[in-house]
């Protein structure tokens, strides 16, 4: 019997071993490649700009961009610079492929504003926007956010080093103080949402409300109008308070769940002890 099974195994295994060289490519790729099959696309801009042909300062741009929040949201070179990433030879052709290249200093807000529409509007109406258009002295988006390694924005962008280049830091500081209350709430809620996620809850409703409120407020900053921000602080704290209430309600839920399953645990443990004692008592 044993020898029969063994020989059957051998017969089944032999062709396997003989064709073991089959599909080496599979072996190479197996479990190491990224599995998002559809996403393996060619991007001529990145290929060429990351290659040895490029001068080192330019090559760094690709590395910078890779770290950015834009890269994580699939905003790539041609989304900002135009051109055609699928056609290496004509990629940077202005006429045929709508390549924009690097716009002049004062036109940069328009480049970013194609997507960040609301911000562009506020920015254009602001002291900064007006100064940029009239005298070319105002800051544009890249001055505060950078161009390639753009990260998620927060109040820390307002710093002495950045904001005292053109005027005293006092103005910037006033702004920062005006925003402080709401920003603090924003960080608290962010932490709360993170904690909920760690607890296995996906607070979709609160998250959506939070993101839109936060984006609205951060957009408002671009007016650089201290009075306006102060005026609307009340409105934003109220909205954020509501969201916070939802989050702490969920936490209370989690606590009562814990109590309930703890109670069930004690209950079955008690029943277990009873059973154990019963089974130990002598019978007959």
């Amino acid at each position: 019997m044993r020898s029969l099974v063994l020989s059957l195994l051998l017969i089944a295994g032999l062709p396997g071993i003989s064709s073991a060289g089959y599909r080496e490519d599979f072996a190479r790729e197996f479990m190491s490649k990224t599995w998002s099959g559809e996403r393996i696309e060619e991007n001529a801009c990145i290929d060429c700009h990351a290659s040895e042909r490029m001068k080192p300062v330019f090559r760094e741009i690709v590395d910078e961009w890779r770290k950015s929040w834009h890269a994580q949201n699939d905003i790539t070179c041609h989304d900002c610079h135009g051109g055609d990433p699928k056609d290496p030879s004509l990629a940077m052709s202005h006429q045929q492929r709508g390549f924009i290249g690097v716009p002049p200093y004062a036109k940069i807000p328009d480049l970013c504003g194609r997507c960040h529409v609301g911000i562009l509007r506020y920015f254009n109406e602001s002291g900064h926007g007006k100064a940029l258009r009239t005298s070319g002295k105002g800051p544009h988006c890249v001055v505060c956010h950078g161009s390639h390694n753009i990260q998620k924005a927060n109040i820390e962008i307002i710093s002495e080093q950045r904001c005292s280049k053109c005027h005293t830091y006092g103005r910037a500081q006033d702004m920062k103080q005006a925003m402080f209350l709401v920003e603090k709430k924003i960080t608290e809620i962010e932490d709360g949402i993170k904690a909920l996620r760690r607890a296995g809850i996906y607070p979709e409703e609160q998250e959506q409300a939070f993101f839109s409120t936060q984006a609205e407020f951060r957009t408002l900053f671009h007016t650089v109008d201290v009075n306006l921000v102060k005026e609307r602080t009340g409105e934003y704290t109220r909205k954020l308070d509501d969201i916070e209430k939802g989050i702490s309600g969920t936490f209370a839920d989690l606590r009562s769940r814990k109590n309930f399953s703890g109670f069930l645990m004690l209950l079955v443990s008690g029943m277990g002890v009873v059973m154990l004692l019963l089974s130990k008592t002598p019978k007959e």
Partner: protein, 363 residues
């Protein structure tokens, strides 16, 4: 009243005899130990899966656009939905642990030996079905974790030449994990596996009943060594009655199972929900680390470290066959593993390898 009901039943289905024979007169061997309760614990665990599973089924929507939402709804809106989901998830993992433990103790006590080969084989198939339950259920919440674990696991068959792609495509219902895969796994989980499971379980119970419970190899075991060429039921006239003493032990262990389950739900509710399990599946974003369920980690890691994938799959199939037909490979009469140093050594080595591969696969 009770007597009349009982009498009515006795006339029709002979309940008195049934109770007398199966409950009162049924005796278990004297040297039986607590590990003999694991079979009953498994059945109880399955029962819990069925009940909680049906409750989940009421609210779950097997569609890629709604699956994640519906599971979140179960967790946050449906009254006590969180409890059913938690019980189902914890239960599925604990259950596989208990099935493992059941087989392990049966193995160590040599109780798979003649004439119980079939019982072992059916049991091994039941383990396989349990893992298939876990594997198919894992995808259903449609989270990043489940999506990518399934993507990786369904890629394993593609290591087999000629047939591999076909098998993988049949599993997934296409080239990659999509809504078609979800439908397939859902059907598999709730309507294909259960009848298979019930049939195997029936057979398993029939075999244990027919052949009778074996004594442990420790102490009085001489009788087990006689050749088994003709059937006679093994009963234990000198053993103690199953009811109530051993029945109470069974219930005790079921309570232990439940207590562990509620302990985990209370103090480690996220044990099986790491970060990626709270994100909806996104086919365009590969998470940093992909790994399958813990009980598939060892085979998965083994595949990863064997340079030739096809060879890896062949080895795994061979190991599976060895495991399934183990009673035919091990024809030694001695049941007591303590008296078989070679087998003991092999077993310890295999067990250590399993644990190492599992933890290796985690990192």
């Amino acid at each position: 009243m009770w007597d009349r009901v009982r009498n009515w039943l006795d006339v029709r289905i002979g309940i008195n005899d049934l109770v007398e024979e199966e409950v009162r007169a049924y005796r278990v061997p004297k040297n039986i130990n607590i590990f003999y309760t694991l079979g009953v614990v498994t059945i109880a665990g399955y029962l819990i899966q069925v009940i909680t599973g049906i409750l989940l089924l009421i609210y779950y929507v097997p569609h890629p656009d709604h699956a994640f939402q519906s599971v979140q709804g179960i967790m946050n809106k449906v009254p006590f939905g969180w409890l059913f989901r938690q019980m189902h998830v914890m239960g599925s993992n604990l259950l596989i642990g208990v099935v493992f433990a059941h087989m392990l103790t049966v193995f160590l006590m040599g109780n798979y030996k003649r004439p119980r080969e079939l019982t072992w084989i059916v049991g091994a198939l039941l383990l396989f079905v349990s893992v298939a339950f876990g594997f198919s259920g894992y995808l259903l919440p449609w989270t990043q974790l489940s999506y990518w674990a399934t993507t990786v696991a369904t890629a394993i068959p593609t290591a087999v030449p000629y047939m591999g792609d076909l098998v993988a495509n049949v599993l997934r219902g296409g080239e990659s994990v999509t809504g078609a895969t979800l439908s397939r796994f859902f059907a598999f989980h709730i309507s294909i596996l259960p009848p298979i499971f019930l049939m195997l379980l029936g057979l398993h119970l029939f075999l244990t009943k027919r052949i009778g419970i074996s004594g442990t190899p420790f102490g009085l075991s001489a009788e087990e060594k006689r050749p088994w060429t003709e059937y006679h039921k093994k009963n234990h006239p000198d053993g103690y009655p199953y009811y109530p003493r051993f029945f109470q032990k069974d219930l005790f262990m079921v309570m232990v199972y439940l207590a562990v389950m509620f302990f985990l739900i209370t103090f480690a509710p996220n044990l099986f929900f790491p970060g990626d399990a709270t994100m909806p599946a996104d086919p365009y974003r590969t998470p940093a680390s992909i790994r399958p369920e813990w009980y598939l980690l060892a085979p998965y890691q083994m595949l990863k470290i064997i340079p030739n994938k096809f060879l890896g799959v062949i080895i795994q199939v061979a190991l599976f066959v060895l495991f399934l037909f183990w009673p035919f490979f091990d024809t030694e009469k001695e049941k007591n593993i303590m008296k078989r140093p070679f087998l003991r050594g092999m077993f310890l080595a295999a067990f250590a390898l399993w644990v190492i591969l599992m933890f290796w696969g985690r990192s």
